[in-house]
Symmetry: C2
Subunit: 362 residues, 2 copies
């Protein structure tokens, strides 16, 4: 497979801690419901999974935010629950309620029956990656992604989102052996899934540990971090001679940054509760940081949005400009963008982040 030459490598350089002219920016869930053009495509597709499983639709919506904003990376449009769906749990999207599994995994027999799925069942994802990569025409790099083993386990056991994670934590505390079995399968499945995305054209891969932050301190290390590490240990480090950076984001994981800095990955995402200056001191040049504007800032007016973007950049401090690896930041939100966000407010954010980060380097 050959793809068009990459024109904007600021995101990939920042992943590797290399100096850039400005701080690259992309936004979690940048292709999504806040965009009227997304809602139009979604209506055409009929359902969320109709959208995600159709290569043309997935390509179209992935590129939509890039047509509006000078973002520095694209991210595959898909769902974090495709892997358990391929395991046979039956993913459904009830309108307005979020994802739901028809067959949650709540007893020993269901856990023991789980297997790493045949990656052919996820071919629609890999086809989308290749299609998007071509459609991007080398404009910016494409990020592939998966949910983390623990985050997938939350949905697999709860069957849906949860306020208290009672069912998955009941299994964790009462049958840690079953939870470990489930997580090992998830980790191996996620690794195979991300490797196939890399083969299909993903230029970076991100692991979303969206629910790592609900775990108790000791449990986070045992049941989330250890299995994220198991995924990372199996990932391809390069493809076609080009390094593939690996990004890990634990929402609510700010207290565990020192341990996460030991992960075999290039980038750590952080949410808005993290002080970027303190995080930079903690991880040094060993990891690039990614984050961390509160998505709710986008409900203020453009001048306040710009001021908050400047505050994020200033809290990280002056980016390094020398040769080799140094402390680096990728600008992002601390969580996915809200569906209620006014699209023109995103323009104000991207413009301010680019402008001020250039000024910081002057």
């Amino acid at each position: 497979m050959t793809f068009p030459t990459l024109q904007n490598d600021s995101f990939l350089r920042a992943c590797h801690g290399l100096a850039t002219d400005y701080t690259p920016i992309w936004l979690m869930r940048q292709a999504g419901r806040y965009l009227p053009e997304y809602r139009a495509t979604r209506a055409q597709a009929g359902s969320f999974m109709g959208l995600a499983t159709n290569v043309n639709f997935a390509t179209e919506v992935t590129l939509q935010p890039l047509a509006r904003y000078p973002l520095d990376a694209a991210i595959l449009f898909s769902d974090i629950l495709t892997v358990p769906d391929a395991m046979g749990l039956g993913l459904n999207f009830v309108n307005g309620e979020g994802p739901r599994f028809e067959r949650p995994v709540r007893d020993e027999a269901s856990v023991r029956a789980l297997q790493v799925p045949d990656m052919n069942q996820l071919k629609y994802v890999f086809d989308a990656v290749t299609s998007i990569r071509h459609a991007l025409q080398g404009r910016v790099p494409l990020i592939g992604f998966s949910g983390s083993p623990w985050t997938l386990a939350c949905y697999m056991v709860e069957g849906a989102g949860s306020d208290d994670y009672r069912l998955v934590k009941t299994m964790l505390y009462s049958r840690p052996d079953l939870m470990h079995h489930l997580l090992a399968i998830n980790a191996d499945a996620v690794a195979a899934y991300l490797n196939a995305q890399i083969d299909a054209g993903a230029q970076a891969v991100m692991i979303f540990d969206s629910w790592g932050g609900v775990l108790a301190d000791a449990a986070f290390h045992t049941f989330s971090l250890a299995y994220t590490a198991r995924v990372l240990s199996q990932l391809k480090r390069s493809h076609g001679g080009v390094d593939i950076p690996r990004l890990v984001f634990t929402k609510g994981g700010g207290q565990w940054l020192a341990q996460m800095a030991q992960l075999d990955c290039e980038v750590l995402g952080v949410d808005w509760t993290v002080n970027l200056g303190a995080a930079r001191t903690l991880v040094g040049a060993s990891k690039t940081l990614q984050g961390n504007l509160d998505p709710n800032v986008l409900f203020a007016q453009p001048p306040q949005i710009a001021a908050e973007a400047v505050a994020v950049l200033d809290s990280f401090g002056k980016p390094h400009s020398g040769p080799g690896r140094g402390p680096s930041l990728i600008f992002n939100l601390g969580h996915g963008i809200s569906q209620h966000t006014p699209p023109d407010h995103v323009s104000a954010l991207v413009e301010a982040a680019h402008r001020h980060s250039r000024a910081l380097r002057a």
Copy 2:
């Protein structure tokens, strides 16, 4: 007012960092729906507010968990939203949905109209404090409490619980002046409310900053911590010659412990994401810590519950035994007990916490 002599002062001693024979334990929301006797009283009262505003019912349910378990403190049965209710927002409890305000505060006019309520409107709370204090017969001390200024603001603006705190954060980011005005009124109201609880017989007071953890790093300091400090600066430090310890709990506030250690209070509550050993190192003997078992542990079986209680105590380490103030722990959950908790599992927890904490001192 004279009350019966206190027989078990382990909680108050631990608040002040003084050595105790064992680690005192109480549980957030220990009087609540998981107890069948609570549900019976609640049915008699007809509604949650019917329960909370009736002195006899409030006294009865406050004492119910003490009849079952050898807990080391009682906490006033009430709601964190009584203060905004007294401000005229109209508190309602829709069954199964949690609290809701009829008249949320969402524009400049509503914010400007807010005033510190006349404490006579909250007389039912102070009467309950006095009644409970008598009914306790000196068995254990009684903790009074309030929501923090920020946490009250969340409910006042959102009108109910929220997934994303979009409305209150929109006000915070777009009209910080209004948010500061609202928080200043809340802080003065909370201080008056807690002082009146102290006058009525509360032997310790706790500020629940249940939603501080949803704030971005800088915003937490400006909009939550500063107003918690404003409350503390106005609180009575003693009553009738007896010191009144002050407890502050920010759920999700683990990253801000160093700054919270500067608060003028005796105890910092921490949730289960916090490593107690690291927290002890951070706060030293300056603050007693309170926490931090994941309430979901109570869904495991008694042997596992005991093992997790031991792990919490061990993570804090050996308590000090000398004279004067030293590193101290009050055992608690990291959040309110779940309504689905089997009551006999709580027995296992209290027994294990008492037994192992005595052994640690041997």
